[in-house]
């Protein structure tokens, strides 16, 4: 793309300047609450509500982070809850990629009777909002005895219809010749999938993994239903409880927020192209 020169027509010049000002202003405005979170996380509560607000903390008050992790009652549950979130979101990301890749491969590269019907049946589930099935799902998990367990938290999200769609689209472009050549060489179907197909779907896997991880990192509704024991809670449920406690200190609340945001921000900065890619479009359905 060639570099744009500064426009000469007055209207174009005005637009050129205005566009930059508005974007810069909007970006700044959007970043203010994030900057506030970071700055307030190092302040005593009295400074956070001081008028006017002083953005630079007097010193780095790590005590807030200690209180965030230790909790108002010194139980250190938050550390455990962060770990739970990592385990659940990580496991969901892994299984979603694995199952979606397998199913997408089956739909993309094999012909069998009932294939189109099966594919439609999977795609149609994208229309079912989680909110309408959460109660029956909860009853299933109760019946299986998976309340208060990682399995209960992970099970309903192990695969995604969007993931199947993404993998199938991606694999439709995968050359048949390579698969056929491997077959002629006597490769088993399973080995073809594991050693040839799986290693070649990197970008689609990364997109899907990032999406799945973030969705579970964000998930509040489901853990509220299936988890009662404090030590099995994930971050969002912990945050609600922490913020609602009378003794909660604003500084510690912001420290809780920073800790909860760090892993996803690290993902975002290192993998920003998978966040900003257009293929994430269809996945917006799940909150």
């Amino acid at each position: 793309m060639r570099k744009p020169s500064i426009p000469k027509r007055p209207l174009e010049l005005a637009f050129f300047v205005l566009a930059r000002l508005v974007v810069a202003g909007a970006a700044a405005l959007i970043l203010v609450p994030l900057a506030f979170m970071l700055s307030a996380s190092f302040m005593p509560a009295s400074d956070i509500v001081s008028i006017p607000y002083r953005w630079i903390p007097d010193g780095l008050r790590w005590k807030n982070y200690l209180q965030a992790l230790a909790g108002n009652d010194g139980s250190w549950l938050y550390a455990r809850n962060v770990l739970n979130s990592l385990v659940v979101a990580g496991a969901v990301a892994a299984t979603t990629v694995a199952i979606s890749a397998s199913v997408g491969y089956g739909f993309a590269k094999f012909r069998f009777r009932g294939r189109n019907l099966a594919f439609m049946a999977v795609m149609a589930t994208m229309m079912i909002p989680f909110e309408t099935v959460m109660v029956p799902l909860y009853l299933v998990v109760v019946r299986l005895g998976f309340q208060d367990s990682y399995l209960g938290l992970i099970l309903p999200f192990m695969a995604s219809a969007f993931g199947v769609f993404l993998m199938r689209q991606y694999l439709l472009g995968f050359p048949d010749d390579i698969v056929d050549a491997a077959r002629i060489d006597g490769c088993s179907e399973w080995r073809i999938f594991r050693s040839i197909v799986l290693p070649s779907i990197g970008p689609a896997s990364a997109t899907l993994a990032v999406l799945a991880f973030r969705q579970q990192w964000d998930n509040l509704l489901w853990p509220l239903l299936v988890v009662q024991r404090e030590e099995m809670k994930t971050i969002p449920a912990y945050i609600v409880k922490f913020a609602a406690e009378k003794s909660a200190d604003e500084g510690a609340m912001m420290a809780v927020a920073v800790i909860a945001s760090l892993p996803v921000f690290i993902l975002f900065i290192t993998l920003s192209k998978y966040f900003l890619g257009g293929s994430a479009v269809f996945a917006a359905g799940k909150e």
């Binding site: 199952i99 089956g106 909002p129 099935v133 799902l137 509040l220």
Partner: protein, 300 residues
């Protein structure tokens, strides 16, 4: 020939092997629960009860549709969805059009606008909970802007303001996300079209309204429906605000009402009926989305 068809059969079986885990999963965790929710919505099932649920016909629906609480939730959801939809759509269109015109600095601008979307909804709500403190940043900022020192706008205490507050959090969190979708859509417009218009003397507004807007129409339709559907599922912000002391009534959106009906009132049958009604509305919107996206797939 016989051997060839045997090979075909063997390969077809492998196709089933690869899709089987998915079919099992979606039957168990999507199809079974939706059918179950539908059936349960016609019974008097309770969460904790030894009695077998009884078929009660349309009783749940009648009771739900004639209860004030349900219509309050419907109103809360509609207010929230429309209140967030308008600014989200207009702002994301505006930001996208401006970002596309930037060329340089495109990526940092997109990352800055997108960054709140990375946060958990609960974290976003938590930050704003402190910002909305009577002595917090929100009051300070507006008071500095309007020169009204000391005014408290009661962000989380007043019924109307609590609704505004949840909308502010949501717009802040998602405007960057929808901006990216529009940037993607606008990126598909060939440079040559805009250059030709420029040479013909079309100004920036003319180019936006006569070229960009008509060409991204499928994206606009798709994004509009996505915003609406997503807004109808909002839960975390309202839940956190209510738990932290905001008035429940004004912001008890449908998802929150379903959760409360199932987990607090233990009325699974009634909660299922509410779920099915929410589902019906969303299905209608999804259907519109599907129709819209038929022309829109190339646009994204």
């Amino acid at each position: 020939m016989k051997r060839a068809s045997g090979m075909e059969g063997k390969r077809a079986r492998w196709g089933w092997v690869f899709v089987a885990p998915g079919l099992l999963f979606f039957s168990l965790f999507s199809w079974y629960p939706i059918v179950n929710a539908f059936v349960t919505s016609f019974t008097n099932r309770k969460l904790i009860s030894l009695k077998a649920p009884k078929f009660v016909g349309l009783q749940n629906y009648v009771r739900v549709l004639s209860s004030e609480d349900f219509w309050n939730s419907a109103r809360a959801t509609a207010v929230f969805a429309v209140g967030a939809f308008v600014p989200l759509l207009l702002l994301s269109l505006l930001f996208a059009a401006l970002i596309v015109s930037l060329r340089g600095w495109k990526r940092p601008a997109q990352m800055a606008l997108y960054s709140p979307a990375v946060l958990s909804s609960v974290v976003a709500a938590l930050i704003w909970l402190v910002v909305f403190d009577p002595r917090g940043l929100a009051n300070q900022g507006l008071n500095a802007l309007f020169g009204t020192p000391g005014v408290d706008r009661r962000w989380l205490a007043d019924a109307t303001m609590a609704q505004v507050s949840t909308i502010v959090v949501y717009v802040w969190k998602y405007v960057g996300y929808f901006t990216i979708l529009f940037v993607t859509g606008m990126g598909k417009i060939p440079d040559a079209v805009n250059e030709a218009a420029l040479i013909d003397g079309a100004g920036p507004f003319r180019r936006f309204f006569s070229i960009t807007l008509p060409l991204i129409r499928p994206t606009t339709v798709l994004v509009s429906v996505m915003i609406l559907i997503q807004c109808m599922k909002t839960f975390s912000t309202q839940y956190l605000f209510v738990q932290s002391g905001a008035p429940t009534g004004p912001i008890e959106v449908m998802t929150l009402a379903i959760y409360n009906t199932a987990m607090r009132d233990l009325a699974i049958g009634r909660a299922s009926a509410m779920s099915m009604l929410l589902f019906a509305v969303m299905l209608l919107l999804s259907w519109l989305q599907l129709r819209a996206s038929r022309g829109g797939e190339d646009a994204l």
